[in-house]
Point group: C2
Chain length 640, copies 2
């Protein structure tokens, strides 16, 4: 049943590495200057086929953050042992600048002004006295990364250029000008920069408080420092892979003639009908200002009835005056008076209408007073853009979107966040089969492209995160997906003896993550597409099958990751759709526009949502979604 | 001062058209089948260099929506005049199917089952009696569009294939199989489709209620029908241009080494510090459920003090029992009791802590009880992603983002919506000048690319929307932008005599849209960059200039459109930043993470936000932003 994936993919590491080796463009003879930053981006030096060798003697400016540092005293012959956390004080850190600072207070202020020595001077009152006894000049070897690639550039800085106590701390930002040279000792670097000028020094103010000062922190402990973690090699690699995958997905849709449509994030439509949603509101801003607004109109104590009576009276009086042809001034005054009363009446009427509508809405929704809200109705953050996308598909053919989608789920799993980025596609004149084919092709395309486009980062991931990642990607790319209807999935899972699932399996229950991964990881050992789900477990808009029980929905389960794509052919028959909207108890008003698409020029159409964050998990082997999203949001967690 | 833009751009229409003519790829000899929809996409037929001529005699399936239709009776020799709004009844609409429907009720049900004749039968009880008198077979000529290009395909359908009364209404969706042929009469079409099978017919249920049944509705009246309007030629063209511009922007950033980062939409940080924001909350869902939750813990009537006293007592008792070595059971019971009380105490303590925190927060924010909210704090929809982007720039170098940004502005102008799509860029080791250069290059790139990549749609826009659009795009592309500091802008505007601005001009006031457009449209007659604004009119994070009064912010104003880009070099000096946060009265807690980026390894950095919706205005000449956004959201307006 499950063909041997192993047969399809090579098993040794070399094969994985081979899969990552792509033809490189020939090295340029001249250095590429980054157009908008006046510096050379490190990958243009370090990722050359000659590893930068051809650039020796070039003068360049590079910028980046210090990853680690060593110091060698010029007077000494033996190199010091590596110290990743150099102390701000201590004999080895003494520099000309510091000496000058202790001796000449003016020079200290001067250094402070340039932001390079101010902090270090504080804690050195006593110890400097000792240091001055034995002044030394030293050479620092810094490993500097600018986030453009995995590798760091080795930068040699003489202590006369910058105080070691400040520049050597990991996390320090430097911009230096220098000359590229061959390293004196042969090692893993085939090129290094001899600094001649330090153009900028962004110090680490408090080494103890800098969260990345410890090396190789586990990913979960970096989560509290979302704003710093892209400075780690792993999170930087993930960010570049995420970029590569985004680009590759756009390319796939572009190449297949899909138009990119920006669907809204704020919506009045509850797309799935059963998800927990976020309200978007300005009511909470206004809360305190309320109350006064209704009073200010000054209409409070006048009843519409009395006004109407007076209106009638006044109108009769005008008629009378007109008929009796009495004096013009009296008539004008009476007309003026009538006009005013009329105005008041219409204001009052509007107010009453509004209040009635308010009341009606309160009764109807049993909720707050959303007529006062920004949009005069309830507004939510969208759960899925597919409904809006349908409108564009039913005019332009194949369309797709990419944007954040929201669920107010309190689950704290490794697969759930409140704000997820999704690619969504919708195709007119397409049915379930085509949507499944498109989803399959897209997944295979991404597995292929991430290996090609992010080869260097994938090598790092292979080494540091998941030694089987390339195997798995190749398996998704090369093996046929197993396609089974929901009923078969149930049958297969029922026969499982060696595992007790938390939820009992029988026809009609939604498959849990546990079920899904068991099918893909244990039973079929490859990607699985499950389709034709019971209508109760899928959104109201999915097209009903002829059996009356199932609907044309599908999920694509990737081993070790889960359901990365969920799709469906959506109901194009108006009667079926309106019936279903009633059945699940949704407000038909809210979906009027959506039903409209079936009322006028309907067509079959199908599409899917790709959970992009899970795709990054798939490509990197990272196990928790919180580690691949720049600033993840989840229940109770919002720090920035 | 303002060089003559006119000199730079050719003035006649031919030149504009020339600018749009791009080399076309050689026509493929075979038809391209759309991979996932089993149909041929019309642009692959109609946009060929030979206008489809080389595909004659090919059998194809095409799908789309009827734009207009004509009918020719086979018995008659003269063609009928064009009728864009054919009546559902009337002699010319009689078909075999309808005749059969009146005569044989069983056939009617049969037709209904296939969804083609059900509705039409209703209103034809009497009139059909007349029709039956003169049965005719006719040929319909439909103009069908599938949204892939401006042009429509002419489809010839015999009335034996489908009832004219249903298929000829504009808005009808059809999927037909047929053979491409040369039209019998020479006209604007060089190819047409002779239908042989109607595979799908999505009727217009109620012609009167279909909003697009009238031809050439003005854009503003289409706004109530956002879900249908992409079916109009103009909105479809805008959608394709929007797609082209999105793609071109991604390409620009990609080519310049920017990494695409998905910054969050939900945020705890109020990025600008002075915009009206939307709350994101689940408090409104819970409102009714409240109250009960605090009671359910059953801790209400026990004071922490009494518990602590009892804890001490019980602890003493356990000690006593242990010391006196009394019976084991009594000891165990006492220990158990102690444990329970201990637990209760810690629960109570946690509760009190929580309540104190709540109180503190209530006092502090003078607002609702956000500790109970989903994120346990106030959450907003982001106004700008630049702050979060800075974190990634200060690790990875050049980064950009594309996503929705939100302002709860009640303004109803042609330039404001509540949900805007923005491209944002941030560059480490860059200053104001580089950000301005990058912004300028991007704009010029977009003007160039939209003409190249969307040539066909731009021709349509030129003809139907704005006859000067290509001139203006060329002007932006080719002319130098005028770069003036804010103080000069003020001086120049002060000297304007021929116009009274709504807001008086003097140093320190924010420039209004009126000022901005006067500078670009009337004074310089080209794109203008204004920079070095007074610090009071720009966000707190913009870098302060040495004069202590101005900050390194800039805006790019494009003629007829307005400020499409706003950018700045952001403050990298921690002291300056924290002082500014205090000055403008923001909560320093909220910005702790942001200040952190300056505390550890800070660097100069600069960037900008490009209002993508305005870019679409710029490229199309459309005057209202609501017409270029698929589903615009603004004050009081949220229909879907």
């Amino acid at each position: 049943m499950a063909p041997k994936v192993e047969a399809l993919i090579a098993k040794n590491d070399d094969a994985q590495k081979m899969a990552l080796q792509q033809p490189q463009p020939p090295p340029k003879t001249h250095i590429e200057i980054s157009k908008y930053t006046k510096r050379v981006v490190l990958k243009t030096v370090l990722n050359r086929e000659d590893a930068g060798f051809g650039l020796i003697n070039e003068r360049v400016v590079v910028g980046g953050w210090v990853k680690s540092a060593k110091e060698v005293r010029k007077q000494q012959t033996l190199p010091k042992p590596e110290h990743d956390q150099p102390e701000p004080t201590g004999s080895k850190d003494v520099t000309c600048a510091e000496i000058l600072q202790t001796r000449m207070p003016i020079f200290r202020s001067f250094m402070k002004l340039f932001g390079v020595g101010g902090h270090g001077a504080k804690d050195s009152a006593l110890s400097l006295a000792q240091k001055v006894q034995q002044p030394v000049v030293s050479t620092m070897t810094l490993q500097v990364s600018d986030g453009s690639c995995v590798a760091s550039l080795q930068v040699i800085v003489d202590s006369t250029l910058a105080p070691p106590g400040r520049i050597m701390l990991s996390g320090t930002c430097i911009l230096v000008e220098g000359v590229l040279q061959q390293p004196a000792t042969s090692g893993k670097h085939s090129i290094e920069l001899k600094a001649e000028k330090v153009l900028h020094l962004g110090v680490v103010e408090d080494h103890e408080k800098y969260p990345l000062s410890k090396k190789r922190l586990p990913l979960h402990s970096l989560r509290n420092w979302a704003h710093f973690r892209p400075r780690t090699t792993t999170v930087a690699s993930i960010a570049r892979i995420r970029h590569g995958l985004t680009h590759a997905t756009h390319v796939f849709f572009q190449d297949n003639g899909f138009l990119y449509v920006q669907v809204p994030v704020i919506t009045a439509t509850d797309s799935e009908g059963f998800s927990d949603k976020f309200h978007v509101t300005t009511l909470l801003n206004k809360a305190s200002k309320e109350g006064s607004s209704t009073k200010s109109s000054g209409l409070k104590d006048v009843s519409l009835e009395s006004i109407k009576a007076s209106l009638k009276e006044k109108s009769t009086r005008v008629e009378e005056l007109r008929r009796t042809d009495s004096n013009r001034e009296a008539l004008l005054a009476a007309v003026q008076d009538l006009k005013k009363t009329n105005e008041l009446a219409s204001q009052l009427e509007a107010k009453e209408k509004r209040e009635k509508a308010k009341e009606a809405s309160l009764v109807k929704t049993d909720r707050l007073d959303f007529l006062d809200d920004f949009f005069s109705c309830q507004a939510f953050l969208t759960v899925s853009g597919r409904l809006h996308l349908e409108s564009y598909a039913c005019a332009l053919g194949n369309v797709y979107s990419f944007g954040p989608r929201f669920k107010a789920e309190t689950s704290q799993s490794t697969r759930h966040v409140s704000e997820m980025w999704m690619f969504e596609a919708e195709m007119a004149f397409a049915e379930l089969e085509e949507a499944m084919n498109c989803a399959t092709d897209l997944l295979k395309h991404l597995c292929k492209k991430v290996k090609e486009d992010c080869a260097e980062d994938m090598k790092f991931v292979l080494k540091r995160v998941d030694e089987n990642i390339v195997h798995r990607l190749q398996s998704v790319q090369l093996s046929e997906f197993e396609k089974i209807p929901y009923c078969k999935a149930i049958d297969v899972l029922k026969q499982v003896k060696e595992k007790n699932f938390a939820t009992n399996i029988e026809w009609g229950v939604p498959l849990t993550e546990e079920h899904e991964s068991y099918l893909a990881d244990e039973i079929y050992k490859k990607s699985v597409i499950i389709y034709d789900y019971p209508k109760e477990v899928k959104p109201f808009y999915v097209r009903q099958n002829d059996d009356g029980k199932t609907v044309a929905a599908f999920d694509v389960i990737v081993p070790k990751v889960g359901a990365v794509i969920r799709g469906s052919q959506n109901e194009e028959r108006i009667k079926m759709l309106t019936t279903r909207i009633q059945e699940v108890g949704l407000s038909s008003d809210q979906y009027e526009w959506y039903v409209d698409l079936r009322r006028h020029g309907t067509t079959k159409h199908a599409g899917f949502s790709l959970n992009f964050d899970l795709i990054v998990l798939m490509a990197t082997g990272i196990s928790d979604i919180h580690d691949v999203i720049p600033f993840p949001r989840s229940y109770g967690k919002l720090n920035n």
